[in-house]
Amino acid sequence: MIIDAEDHQNHEIGGRHLSEHIEELRIQDLHAFYGESHALHGIDMTVYQGELVTLLGRNGSGRTTTLRAVMGLIGHRTGSIVLKGEEIIKAQPHKIAHLGVGYCPEERGIFSSLNVEENLMLPPNVAPGGMSVEEIYDMFPNLAERRKSMGTRLSGGEQQMLAMARILRTGANVLLLDEITEGLAPVINDKLGEVLIKLKERGYTIVLVEQNFRFAAPLADRHFIMDHGHIVATIHKDELESKQHVFDEYLSV
Amino acid sequence: MNSKIGYLIAIALLLTAPLVIYPVFLMKLLCFALFASAFNLILGYGGLLSFGHAAFFGGAAYVTGHALKVWGLPTELGILTGTAAAGILGLLIGMIAIRRQGIYFAMITLAMAQMVYFLFISAPFTGGENGLQGVPRGTALGIVDLQNDMNMYYFVLVIFGLAYFLISRTVNSPFGQVLSAIRDNEARATSLGYDVDKYKLLAFVLSSTLAGLAGSTKTVVFQLASLTDAHWHMSGEVVLMTLLGGLGTIVGPSVGAGIIIALQNYLASGPLAAWVPVVLGLIFVACVLAFRRGVVGELREFLKKSF
């Protein structure tokens, strides 16, 4: 069953009417390919400024691919991706990043030849207003403690923190976050949740790919449900109860 | 089924080829086909790029040359001595080299081979830059006169056939299975209880031994062993042959060797004679850029797609 995103034009987020919102990211008819395999089959979605949305779905449903496509990391993609008013379907990744996008990849991508601090300082600033290093170390004391360790000597969870931390520094205000709670201790997850709320308050736009529905549900304004490279449903936070059957069908929660 | 027919045709061709094609050229081709196939064992199936295989090829060539010329051993024994020497050298170099992978492995093997090369330049038994000349071909089994090119050809063909069989068997053996598992995921293979270094070392020694067999045979065919055989360009050439023919395919290296040897041979006296290195270089470049799977690999891919 397909639920059209347009049905919810009238819902409100963050106290304001949706239609008053500026479109931060608009994806239309996006197809993406890995070599010959067709991974995304025409995705349409719009994310408004200041909104936190999730991409939910089973393993292999195409959530990561969507983020990678936005970031320009997939060789072959067609359709349209408009970010902050600019068409970026043909743009190079570094150009896209400089529009103010931060990407936290699923595989973390910590650089093993750099130490924690160098990893943290690595991404160039793409916009003013990033968090200061002190703020970040405050948030993740583990990292402060291990700051001179080589990146991949960190434990799995520490690497996850570092991957998240380093994009908070750059001033990017559109964040593409792929499974950031993976492998983290429950306490850290709690803390990450608080961070996301804070970021939302600052007006960041966030696209969150999650398995951990329990983590995502209280944070998100809307949920996009993906299956086999399609977006099969869009669910507003107010509809969580009424659309429970959608979750059951596609996520078997 | 299909491959059986293919093999039968290949055998028929090989048996009749010297009637049409100059047998010495064919023998050279077989020697290098064997060399490349042996090399492929470690690169194509072991995933390790050795840039020092010339040391085994050349080392065996010298030892065989010396054994036949100075010690006067029978031909078969001379070849075996050279091959064994290459195996021992492979064991020594392998013990140091297999501790590393990738580029490091390539560089270490290159450096070790370079040491061997310098040894050959100045060691008394190699004849320095003049090489060992006039190595007697002798007789096969004490009766067949190998001075006759036709006899020699079939002698070489038998060696090639046996070695080739051994190589394809190795690839498709219990050992081959472990080897490809190691290439796929070394840590996992370890955690399943395999001492990966031992397997890699055995693969390396097998590869160097067979490369040595190729070198020994070549010495008997051409009756000489020279520094060319041990120079690092030779290591590069065997990589080229393997790559051109198709990495990790059984017949690929032989096809690649055939192409390169034929090119070298026919270019050497044509209008492009002075351009041989340039032409080889261009093939290298084209191969890496355009058809990385090599002739056989691309062909297989093409057939897979069209049928």
């Binding site: 089973r58 393993n59 292999g60 699923e106 583990n142 291990r146 360790s149 000597r153 960190l154 434990s155 799995g156 969870g157 520490e158 996850q160 923190m161 499974e179 993976e182 492998g183 983290l184 201790a185 429950p186 306490v187 850290i188 997850n189 709690d190 398995q211 529905f213 996520l251 078997s252 929660v253 | 051994l166 068997r169 190795t170 498709n172 053996s173 219990p174 050992f175 081959g176 299975q177 472990v178 490809s180 598992a181 796929d184 995921n185 840590a187 996992r188 293979a189 370890t190 955690s191 399943l192 209880g193 395999y194 001492d195 990966v196 031992k198 397997y199 055995l202 097998l206």
Partner: protein, 252 residues
Amino acid sequence: MSDKGQYILQTQGLTKEFKGFTAVDDVNLNVKRHQIHALIGPNGAGKTTVFNLLTKFLQPTRGKITFNGRDITSAKSAEIARMGVIRSFQISAVFPHMTARENVRVALQRELGTSFHFWRSVKTLNALNARAEELLTSVGLERFADVVVADMSYGRKRALEIATTLAMEPELMLLDEPTQGMGREDVELITQLIRKVSAGRTILMVEHNLGVVSTLCDTITVLQRGAILTEGDYATVSADPRVKEAYMGKAA
């Protein structure tokens, strides 16, 4: 209980120091035979490091490890594996260019003792196919025996990894975050699988998914900053305020 004693695996004063940083600090771990034992703790507590020490992917700085009463502190990785201690990895560990059957067979073939036999045909391994398929069936992969693993989904790769591990007939399985990165459905599947294979074996696992831990595990050891904070069954451990504070947060 066999004469080998109640504990299959014990460590005494196990310590690992990295350049002035103590990742594992004087850990005395006692794993009871035929139990599912969990190792939990905050990120960076040293859980993976303990696994690496037990399987000798790292050398302990100090301390002693005994397996079935035998001192294995100085044994090598492959040796330990041959004794029956098999680990899984945090990222899936399969042989991607081989088929599922071959993956399992690689584990099975070791006991034939022909793994160095390069002159023997690979067909001699066909004798192992029946057992391999049996193992694949046990993890629900019977239909995928001939599929090249690179083409399989993540969850199936995890299942295959378990099948391969089982092929080794391990007495002790070490699983490092077996459900990490899995959808709910797969988590469920793996949980059941672990329960199924735990019969007659001992399992030591690291896991952040408290749901999994609470349903599966008999004993839980909590690590913090390399040292053991507390130990006990789920109810005891989750009630401990220190564990709540350091690890579980609101989840508990």
